[in-house]
């Protein structure tokens, strides 16, 4: 199913949670709603689900305006941050619950629920209570429950944030494969940029209720439309420096350089800096470097020994330019 949001706004008392958002999601796409907490992503999800009514604007599924369609009639499956598995029901009962609400006969309920449980490799757990499951298993049950009614849209509200790092990566891939297999339009809410980058066809980045950028992960990373997007994506963050020292453009601009775009050269680099800190990570090193009057972070490989206080020569592979308001300036425009 295609989803279209047209000029959606949501006002809570004084605060504008979502401000005039327009968005198209293609059939079978996986779109991440990304942003810091309080950016409006959960509100947006709730409006798509029908749990919240937009103050203005239209929500359109395929060609139908669904603003007035109640949540239960929207054909949506949803997985919640804490899974919201009913603690007094077994796994099977939990999975059957949406079917029970649709007044499907008991035999059919069991049959369908068992089928999806088998598919999600939950077969052996169906008679357990949720409290007896691990986080990852609970997560699978929640997905099974969301999928059992064969929804047209799957909504995932920070489904991985309660899991440990390793499991998160594992389940992230699992969700991605599942989604590919089912070709179900999926919206994934997260505040973790890495998660969004790794899983999505497209990312919608929001801040304080305002649309920032909607693009594929690659495009967003390579061509962030403003300084917020630039610094939100990527870890460590992009270095944002006043232009004075770098380019010759007269305009008051900001230069953005991703840490991995610094290259340490043996000599005759374009820039010279002094190492102020060295952080070793598994596969790479983060160097804190004093560059003119600015402190920057560079991401380099292990092939050389770096010490605090060393002076190094640097080249820059790639840089981004932003105008005084933080908007991206493309190279052609300079």
């Amino acid at each position: 199913m295609k989803i279209r949001l047209e000029n959606i706004s949501k006002q809570y008392h004084e605060t504008l949670a979502v401000d005039d958002l327009t968005l198209h999601i293609g059939d079978g796409e996986l779109v991440s709603l990304l942003g810091p907490s309080g950016c409006g992503k959960s509100t947006t999800l709730a409006m798509i689900a029908g749990l919240e009514m937009p103050t203005s604007g239209r929500v359109i599924f395929d060609n139908d305006i669904v603003n007035d369609v109640p949540a239960e009639s929207r054909d949506i499956g949803m997985v919640f941050q804490n899974y919201a598995l009913y603690p007094h029901m077994t796994v099977l009962e939990n999975i059957m619950f949406p079917l029970k609400m649709r007044k499907i006969s008991k035999e059919q309920r069991i049959e369908k629920a068992m089928a999806i449980a088998r598919w999600m490799q939950l077969e052996d757990l169906v008679n357990r209570k949720p409290s007896k499951l691990s986080g990852g298993q609970q997560q699978r049950v929640a997905i099974a429950r969301a999928l059992v009614k064969e929804p047209k849209i799957l909504l995932l509200d920070e489904p991985l944030s309660n899991l440990d790092a390793r499991l998160r990566i594992e389940l992230r891939d699992e969700i991605r494969q599942l989604q590919k297999k089912l070709k179900i339009t999926t919206i994934f809410v997260t505040h973790d940029q890495e998660e969004a980058m790794s899983i999505s066809d497209k990312i919608l980045l929001m801040d304080k209720g305002v649309f920032q950028q909607y693009a594929s992960p690659k495009e967003m990373y390579e061509k962030p439309v403003n300084t917020f997007v630039a610094s939100f994506l990527g870890n460590p963050q992009m270095n944002l420096l006043p232009n004075d020292d770098f380019m010759d453009t007269k305009a008051k601009t900001t230069v953005g350089i991703r840490p991995e775009d610094f290259v340490v050269v043996p000599s005759k680099g374009s820039y010279q800096g002094q190492i102020t800190s060295v952080q070793t990570l598994g596969k790479e090193l983060y160097l804190g470097i004093q560059l003119h009057n600015e402190k920057v972070t560079a991401c380099v490989s292990w092939d050389h020994r770096y010490d605090v206080g060393d002076t190094i020569e640097l080249d820059i592979k790639k840089h981004h330019l932003f105008d005084a308001k933080g908007k991206r300036i493309d190279y052609e425009e300079i």
């Binding site: 599924f61 139908d64 669904v66 007035d68 369609v69 109640p70 009639s73 929207r74 054909d75």
Partner: protein, 296 residues
Amino acid sequence: MKKYSRPINTELRAMAYLLPALVIIGIFQFYPIFKSFAMGFYTKFDYLTDRVYETGLGNFKYVFSDPDFYLAMKNTCIFVFFAVPLGILIALILAVLIDRQRHLKSFFQSVYFLPFITSTVSVSIVWSWMLNKDFGLVNALLKLFGIPKVAWLTDPNMTLPILIAFSVWKGLGYKIILILAALQGIDTQYYAAARIDGAKAWKQFLHITIPLLKPCLTFLYITSSIGAFKIFDEVYIMYAQQPGPLKSGLTIVYYIFNKFYRHWEFAIAAAAAFVLFLIILLLTVIQFIIADKKER
């Protein structure tokens, strides 16, 4: 899409959920509060037709000039003054002792709790049987220590002590359970820290346990006082429906009950009830002020 059901008016929906409770509360709690307040001012009215001919302060004047009412106030206040702190103190000691037991913790808890859940009528009857002057167990036990017979139930000086003892006995379990719950809520790290700082058991109790139990003890103090002001059942049963020898067990609720049920003086009873209400209101307000302070 399938069905486009419009949400029903939210007020109407909420009302549907609230209605059963609100009807009952309205008839049996809201209305009587106002009625009771108003009735205190009825000086001439027909109870059967609910017609009021005259209103005024007559009932309050009567109540405040009735020596019986003063006696009831005095007895009740003495009762509250002794029964409440005593009950809490004993419960506190027992709770701390129980908390330190390794075995039989729940056994003790259960035994002490028994009086709280048993019918006041039943246990009042047992008490009056045990306190019987000639054949009662209490006097028999005292005799073992060479103490002469005491006319427990007919000596007016004994009435309030008996009622106080009864109330302490009956409420012990409830208070112990609440104090135990609060004790278990105290982080053991405090005790560990105090031990390292060299505080002995008694000092720990004084400087850690008591201050941290304060909210619980205050709560118990206020609620027990409110409960104690309403003492009636045990007097009525233990003293064969009389307010004790020489009215030594006349309490406020007994006074109200007597005016209302025995003499059918509804308006006077209502006026007296209103006075009781004011006393309890005062206690409640104090409770709120204390609770408020606590939060700050």
